[in-house]
Subunit: 341 residues, 4 copies
C-alpha cells in the first residue's frame, strides 16, 4: 500500500472501523502524520472498496478497506478502534491480546460505558484511562489502552473543569447544557432522519431529559474533578456537517469578576485549548484539533451565574484528532504531531 506509506521508519498504525466519519478522519490524519503510517484500515461491509479521505494536509487519498479478519495485528504498533459502540470492546480485547496498544473511540470503555453491559474481555485492564489529555494527561502516557472521550463531553468538560477544580460551582446546583452538533456526529450509516431533505432548514433537540449515552462519562469526570452538582445535558441536531457548540449555564458559589482569567490560567500552556473573549463559533474550529472556550458573567439574575461556551470539531478534537493526540502521548511522540491547529 505505497499510497500512504510515507517513510520507512515511521510507526505502523491500523484503523478498525474506518468507513465511518471518525474512521475516515483518522485515516487522513495518520496519512499525513510525520511519524506514523497507515498499515491497514478495516470496514466489514465495505471491504474490497476504496474510500477517499482527506489528509491533514488537504490531499485526497484513496484508502483500501479490508475485512477486519484480514487485518494483521502484528504488523502494527497501535490500533485505533472506531467500531460502533457495543462492537468495539471485543476487538479492543483482541488487539490487547496481541500485545498491541489501542485507542478506543467507542463509549465501551469510558466511565459508565455509555450504558453498555456487553462483557469486557479479560485482557482489558480494570481502569482504562479516560483520554482527555487537558484534564487527565498523567493517566495516558503509560497506558496500553485509552478510552477516547465522546465529542460532547470533550467540549463540556474542558469548559467546566477550571471552575469545578477551583470550587466555584455551587454545590448541589443544576448545571444545564444545551449543546448542538452537526450531523456527522450521528455517523455515516444511511438513516432516513439524516437525509439532506430532512436536516436542511431544520433544528431539533433529541435524547432530551438526561437520557443521552454521554451523560455518565461527564458525571464521572465532574466527580473526579471534585464537583458536587448535577448536569442536565440536552443535545440538538444542527443543519451543518461538522462542529459542536455547547452552551453551559453554571450557578456559582459567588460572583466571579473575570471568568476568562480563570480559563486562561488553566489553559495557558495547552496547545489545543483556545480561550477567547469573543463567543466561539463553529467556523472557528472546524478541521482543527482545538476546544475554543469563552465565559460570560450573567446579568440581571439573583443567583451568581456564569455562561460558558465551548466549540469543537466533533470529528477532530471530538474524535479522531483527540485519538491521535492520545496515541502521540502513548507512543512518546510530540503530543501535537500530525494535528491541525
Amino acid at each position: 500500500m505505497q499510497e500512504y506509506a510515507f517513510t520507512v521508519h515511521s510507526i505502523p498504525i491500523g484503523v478498525l472501523g474506518a468507513s465511518g466519519y471518525a474512521g475516515r478522519e483518522l485515516c487522513g490524519l495518520i496519512a499525513s502524520h510525520p511519524s506514523c503510517n497507515l498499515r491497514f484500515a478495516t470496514a466489514n461491509e465495505r471491504r474490497g472498496q476504496t474510500l477517499r479521505v482527506r489528509s491533514g494536509h488537504g490531499a485526497l487519498i484513496d484508502v483500501p478497506m479490508i475485512a477486519p479478519d484480514d487485518a494483521n495485528l502484528n504488523e502494527v504498533e497501535l490500533v485505533f478502534s472506531a467500531l460502533p459502540h457495543g462492537a468495539s470492546v471485543d476487538w479492543v480485547g483482541r488487539v490487547l491480546d496481541a500485545g498491541i496498544r489501542v485507542v478506543d473511540l467507542s463509549s465501551d470503555l469510558r466511565p459508565g460505558r455509555g450504558g453498555s453491559t456487553h462483557p469486557i474481555p479479560a485482557s482489558v485492564p480494570a481502569n482504562v484511562p479516560y483520554g482527555l489529555p487537558e484534564l487527565f494527561r498523567a493517566d495516558i502516557a503509560g497506558a496500553r489502552v485509552v478510552a477516547n472521550p465522546g465529542c460532547y463531553p470533550t467540549s463540556i468538560l474542558v469548559a467546566l473543569a477550571p471552575f469545578v477544580r477551583a470550587g466555584l460551582v455551587a454545590p448541589g446546583a443544576l448545571v444545564s447544557v444545551a449543546a448542538a452538533s452537526g450531523v456527522s456526529g450521528a455517523g455515516a450509516s444511511p438513516k432516513a432522519e439524516l437525509l439532506f431533505a430532512e436536516v436542511t432548514e431544520n433544528f431539533r433537540a433529541y435524547s432530551a431529559g438526561n437520557v443521552h449515552r454521554h451523560l455518565p462519562e461527564m458525571t464521572d469526570s465532574v466527580a473526579r474533578l471534585g464537583g458536587d452538582f448535577d448536569l442536565l445535558f440536552t443535545p440538538h441536531l444542527l443543519p451543518v456537517d461538522r462542529g459542536i457548540l455547547s452552551t453551559i449555564t453554571v450557578p456559582l458559589t459567588a460572583p466571579i469578576a473575570d471568568p476568562l482569567s480563570v480559563l486562561r490560567a488553566a489553559y495557558d500552556n495547552e496547545p489545543f485549548v483556545e480561550v477567547s473573549a469573543e463567543l466561539p463559533a463553529l467556523a472557528d474550529v472546524v478541521h482543527r484539533n482545538v476546544v475554543r472556550v469563552s465565559a460570560v458573567t450573567v446579568q440581571h439574575v439573583r443567583t451568581p451565574t456564569l455562561l460558558l461556551f465551548a466549540a469543537i470539531d466533533n470529528l477532530v478534537k471530538g474524535a479522531a484528532g483527540q485519538a491521535v493526540q492520545n496515541a502521540n502521548i502513548m507512543l512518546g511522540l510530540d503530543e501535537a504531531a500530525g494535528l491541525p491547529r
Copy 2:
C-alpha cells in the same frame, strides 16, 4: 392597485416598513386574507420599487412600495407598523392621531420598550396591550394600539405560562433558555455577518449574558403571570432561513408527573398552540402561525426539573402572523382568519 384588492367590501389595511422580512410576510398574509385588502405598503429606501411576496395561499404577488409620506392613512382602517425599533413609535403616534388602529411589530411599546428611551408621542395611551393572545387576549379586543410581541418571547412565554400560573416554577430559581433562530430574524438589511458564506456551516451564540433587547418583555410577562424567578436568555444564530427553537430548563417546586397534561389543559382550545409528545422541530412549524410545545421530565438530577421546548416560525407566529391575529381580534373578525395553520 387591483392586484391585491380582492373584494370591494373588505377592510383596507396599510403596512409601514414593508420591505423587511416581517413586512413582506404581512403583505402576503393580507393579500390572501378573506376580509382584508392591502391598500398601501411603504418602504422609504425602496419606494417606487415593486417587491415580490408570497400570499398565504402560496401565490407570488408584486407589491408596489410607496414612500411613508405618500401613504394616505385615511384610506385604511388599520395599520401594521413593521418599522425598525426606535423608528416605529413616532409613526404609531401619527397613525393614532389620524384615528386609525395600529399593530406595532417593533419593541418600542412593549414592556421595557426594548431598552428604548425615545419619547412616546402623546396620542399613544399609557398602557399599550402586549399582544400575545394566548396569554393576554382580554386586553386586545378593544385596543386602538397593540404591541406585537418579539419572536423569542412568543415561543418562551407560551411554553412557560401554564407552569408559572400554576405556581410550579421554583421561587427565586434561574430558568435558563437556550434559543436558536434562523437568520430572517435578523432582518433583511445587508450586513456582512448575515451573508450566506458567513452563516452556512456555522452556529454561534450572541447577546450572551442576559443583554438581549427581548429580556424586559419576558420578565415583565413572567411577573404578570405570577412568577417570581429569574430568566437567563441566550440566543443563537442558526444556518436556516426561518424558525426558532427555545429549549428551557425549569427548576420546579416539586416533580410533575405528566407535564404534557399541564400544557394540554392550558391550550386545548387554542387554535395556534400545538402540544406535542414528540420534540418539536423547525420543520413542523415553518410557514404556520403556531407555537408547537413539548415538555420532558429531567432524570438523574436532585432538583426537580422540567425541560420545555417551543418551536415557532419567527416571521409568522413570531411576527406577521401574530400581528394579523391581533388585528383580527381588534377588528372583531374571526381570530384565525387568513392565518396558515
Copy 3:
C-alpha cells in the same frame, strides 16, 4: 379516518407508495383538495405507521399507512401510484382490472418506459397518454390511465415546446440541457450519498453522457412536437431540498427578436405556466404547481442561439401537483382544483 375526510360527497382517492416524498406530497394535496378525500395510503415497509404530511393549506396531517394488499380498491374512484419504477406497472394493471382510474407517477408507462423491460399487464391499454397537460391536454380527459411525466422532462418540454412547434429549433442541432435538482428528487430511501453531510456544500453532475432514464420521454415528446434535433441532458445534484432549474441551449434556424413573446403567446391562458422576463429561481416556484420559464437571446456567437430557463418544484409540478392536475382533468373537475399556485 375522519382526519382528512372533509366532505361526504367528495371523490374517494387512494395513494399507492405513499411513504416517498412524492407520495407524501400527494397525500397532503388530496387532504386539502376541495372535491376529493384520501381513503387509503399504502406503504409496504412502513405499514402500521403514521406519516406526517403537510396539506396544501399548510396544516400538518397524520396519515396512517396500510399494506398495499389491505387497500380496498373498490372504495375509491381514482388511484395515484407513486410506487418505484419497475414496481408500479403491475399495480397499475391491478387497479385497471378493478375498473378504477389511475395516475402512474413512475416511468413505467411513459414513452420509452424509462428503459424498463418489465412486462406490461394486459389491462393496460396500448397508448397510455403522457400527462403533460400544457402540451397534450386533449389526450388526458377520457383516459383511464395516465403516465405522469418525470420532473426534469416537465421543466424542459414546457420551455422548449413553443419553439419546437414553431419550427425555430435548427434541424439536426444539439440542444444541450444542464439541469440541477434538489435531493428530494432522489427519493426518501436512505442512501449514503444523500446524507446531509455528503450533500451540504457540495454540487456534482450524475448520469452524464445522455444515459439518464428521463431521456426517452423527452426525445419522444420532441418528435411528437415536430422537432428534429438531438437532446443532451446532464443532471446535477443541488444542496437544496426541492426544486429543479433547467438551463437549455437551443441552436436556432434564425435569430428570434423577442423570444419571451413566443413563450407568452403559447402560455397566455395556461394557469400553471409563468413566463418571466427575470431569470427564474427555485425560490419562485417551491411549493407551487407552476413551471416558471424565461428566454434570453445569446450574444457574441455566430450560430443564432437561444437560452431557455425553466424552474419547477420537482415534487409539485414535477410530480404530485401535476398528478393531481391530471386527475382533475380525468375526473372532469376544475383543472386547478386543490393546486397551490
Copy 4:
C-alpha cells in the same frame, strides 16, 4: 507584526485589498508559505481593524489591516492586488513605479480587461501575461506583473485546452458552458441578494446570454490555443460557500474514443490538475489548489459531442492559490510552495 513573520530571511509580501474573500485567503496562504512573510495587508474601509484568516495549515491568524496609503511598498518584494475590478489597475501602476513585482487578481489587465475602459498607467507594460500556468507558464517566469485569471475561466480553459490544441473542437461550433459558483465568488461586501435567507434553498442563473465579464478572457485564450469556435457562458449561483463546477458541451470534429486519455496526456506532469474518471464534485476540491477535470462521451446524438466537467475552489485555484502559484514562478520559488493540494 510578529504573528505571521515566521522567518527572518523569507520574502516580504504585501496584499492590497485584503478584506475581501480572495484577499483573506491570500493572507492565510502567505502566512503559512515556507519562503514568504506577510509584511502588510490593506483594507481601506476596515483600516485599523484586525481580520481573522485561516493559514494554509489551518491555524487562525489575526491580520491587522492598514490604509492603502500607509503601506510602505519599499518593504516588500511582491504585492498581490485583490482590489476591486476598476480600482486595481491604478495601484498596479503605483507598485510597478516603485519597482515592485505585482500579481493582479482583478480583471483590469486580463485579455479584454473585463470590459473596463479605465486608463492603464504608463508603468504597466503592453502585454501583461495571463497567469494560467498550466497553459501559459512560459510567459510568467520573467514577468514584473501578471494578470491572475478569473475563477470561471480557470476551470473552463484547463478542461478545454487539450482538446482545442489537438484541433478536436468543431470549427465554428458553439461550446456551451453551464457553470455554477458558490457565493464567496460574489465577494464579501454585504448585498441583499447574498444574504443567507436569499441564497439557502435557492438556485438561479445570472448574467445570462453571454454578457459576463469573464467572457473576453476566455475567448482570447481559446484563440491563442488555436480554437475557432464560439463560447456560450452561463453562470449560476449555488447555495454553497466555495467551489465552481463547470459543465461544458463540446461539439467535436470526430468522435474521441478515450477523452480521459487526452486529458491525462496533457496534464500528467501538472501538480495542480487532477484527471478523474469519476465526475468531479465540489467536495473534492474545496480548500485545494487544483482543477479536477473529467470527460464523458455523449451517447444518442448525431453530432460527435464531448462533455467536460471541471471543479475548482474559486478562492484557491480560482483566485488566491493561483496567485501564489504565479508569484512562486515569478520569484523563482518551487511552483507548489505554500499551496494546499
